[in-house]
């Protein structure tokens, strides 16, 4: 059995069991349960689920992965025989009939793993979108990004070992375990190649477009940083590109089994259009709506106007945020602006001087404290919880901000 016959056999079984898309439903339910559960922990919908949603989502992913393998390791009898039991369709395991055939179990499972990549890409897309939108907490997002990658690999390995044990004349557990691991590694390499390369390409494109314009005429030795809005567009871009990845890898149409997504060309065209529009929109927003920060001055560009301020022009400031540091400053003329935005472009000199936004904010609040400018802090507990997971320089910066706020309050 070579690659071609393996693919042919898999396609044949897939077509025979074309209506067995329960695994896709389970997978999508798991991805849906995560944001619902996360919103619940915020108290937004009904009672707090605790970690129930996390456990259930994990279980659903295991069920989905196992169900996917079962689709390709069973012959579902459909209309050929009377349905057995209530709502159940009779099935026969392929292992019962493949023992005397030229069936390459290792190659077959490798093929199955490759074809599950669209599901994993879709999971990565949904989780990334949820995380960027703030619906899913960063820790839960990271947990399930790992789960989307690892859970199917483990389930496939176990099913592979079971099938190999049943089919092979030699019960070579160690040999099969190594072969199964290689299959998993190969599948992960493919997944990361498709997913990560696409995402990195997004980010490079998104950064390249505005930075070439914004940094024109500015030396890298100047301490300058541009804070840019429209970062949520990165989420849109990632979604569109990963959906393109799902389309390109979903050769068996497992993800596109539902009738309303059968318009493949339309989906691809839509993804490409969204990709182009998003890059263009982000470039436009970055260039036309940003705040240029230097050590002692601010240049705000928005709505077609450009206004320049000095540190001494700041009347008040507010520090807040949950999973990211935010700072709102109010100038003496009443203008309010958000300092730390979704995106940033800075010179090398800025990066060398300030390890993070916390460190710049520490310096700024120090100057404002010396000027007697009143500041306030909201979401102190949430910020503290966020900062506790960061590097030491960031924690030092945050501590300095708190001291500066305290010093300003004392004046």
């Amino acid at each position: 059995m070579n690659n071609k016959t393996t693919q042919q056999f898999r396609k044949k079984i897939g077509r025979e069991n074309h209506d067995m898309y329960g695994f896709a439903v389970c997978w999508c339910l798991a991805l849906l349960l995560i944001p619902i559960g996360e919103l619940n922990t915020e108290g937004l919908i009904g009672e707090d689920f605790g970690i129930f949603h996390i456990v259930m989502a994990g279980l659903l992913m295991i069920i989905a992965s196992n169900s996917y393998v079962s689709k390709y390791m069973n012959i579902y009898l459909g209309n050929e025989v009377e349905k057995k039991g209530i709502g159940l369709i009779g099935k026969e395991e392929l292992t019962a009939i493949l023992r005397y055939h030229g069936f390459d179990v290792t190659g077959y499972y490798k093929e199955l793993m490759m074809r599950f990549i669209p599901m994993q890409l879709f999971g990565l897309t949904a989780l990334t979108a949820g995380g960027c939108a703030g619906i899913i907490g960063k820790h839960v997002m990271v947990l399930f990004l790992a789960a989307v990658v690892i859970i199917p690999e483990i389930v496939f390995l176990i099913r592979y070992l079971k099938t190999a044990y049943e089919l092979q004349h030699e019960k070579a557990l160690y040999y099969n375990f190594i072969e199964g691991l290689w299959n998993g590694i190969y599948s992960l390499i493919r997944l990361f190649t498709v997913g990560i390369v696409m995402i990195m390409l997004d980010i490079v494109l998104m950064a390249l477009a505005p930075s070439t314009v914004l940094m024109k005429g500015i030396s890298d030795t100047e301490v300058v940083c541009f804070y840019i809005g429209g970062g949520w567009l990165i989420m849109v871009l990632i979604i569109s590109v990963l959906l393109m990845g799902v389309y390109l890898t979903d050769i068996d149409r497992d993800m596109m089994a539902f009738s309303f997504v059968k318009m493949r060309k339309l989906i691809l065209a839509g993804s490409i259009a969204v990709f182009i529009l998003t890059v263009a929109a982000y470039s436009f927003i970055s260039i036309n709506a940003n705040i240029c920060v230097r050590e002692n001055s601010f240049t705000i560009k928005e709505g077609g106007s450009i206004r320049e301020y000095a540190v001494e022009d700041i009347a008040a400031y507010r520090v807040y945020g949950k999973d990211v540091l935010k700072m709102e400053i109010t100038f003496k003329d009443g203008t309010k602006t958000q300092l730390f935005r979704d995106g940033a472009e800075s010179t090398t000199a800025w990066s060398d001087k300030y390890y993070s936004d916390f460190n710049y904010a520490a310096e700024l609040t120090g100057k404002l404290s010396a000027l007697g400018v009143q500041g306030s802090i909201d979401d102190k507990d949430k910020l503290q919880a966020y900062v506790n997971g960061l590097d030491q320089p960031c924690r030092d910066g945050y501590d300095q901000i708190l001291r500066n706020l305290g010093a300003a309050a004392d004046q």
């Binding site: 059995m1 079984i13 009898l77 026969e92 009939i97 023992r99 030229g102 390459d104 004349h169 070579a172």
Partner: protein
Amino acid sequence: MIEAKNLKFKYGSFGADKFEIKDVSIKPEQGYISCLLGRNGSGKTTLLKLLYGVLKSRGGSVFWNGEKLSLRNIPAYRQEAAFVGAGGWCADELSIKRNTEILSTLYTGFDNAYYEELIDMAGLAGDMDKICMSLSKGQRMKAEIVFALARRPKFLLMDEPLANLDPVFKTDILELIQKSVGENETGVLLSTHLCDEISDIVDKIYVIEDGRISRSGSRFELLGAAGERDLKELF
């Protein structure tokens, strides 16, 4: 080329003297019909399963084109070798037609046109949509043989292909085998204890007794130049 050298096998782990196959060397040739002749329980089925890689030997090895048979090369080996008589070659609750559509995708050499020809020859054309479990033993055996032959294998291992069949079916099956050997140079090794049915078609005979090859040679060598002794006398 398939060759077995010094094969040993026993079921289970205990009992040193309980080897079912004891130091067997055998080399069926392509283009000829070889017969594994022996009583019930002599080790015919076990030897065929060892040759096909369904069982792992406890000693000795099976070689395919000079390469030792292992987990790595068995799928490729089975593209060229077929086994008939296992009984579990297809899904019982599917029709012959659906089984063939699915299982034929496993083989690069499966010849659909030849398969149609063989189906007609075997008289199965009207049974293609019948569920396999509803077919008689003879029909199932014919379907299995036809599927195996349509793969155009270089070697065909057959375990008691004529057992419990009526004379008409036996004649059909023997014709199918001879056709394949003649047209495709297929090497056939079939096992049987029914000496009379195969005496006219076999080229080489291996007599297996108590897990050992007690005698082997061409039909004429074993039966003598006179040809009047029949195979029963070989036991």
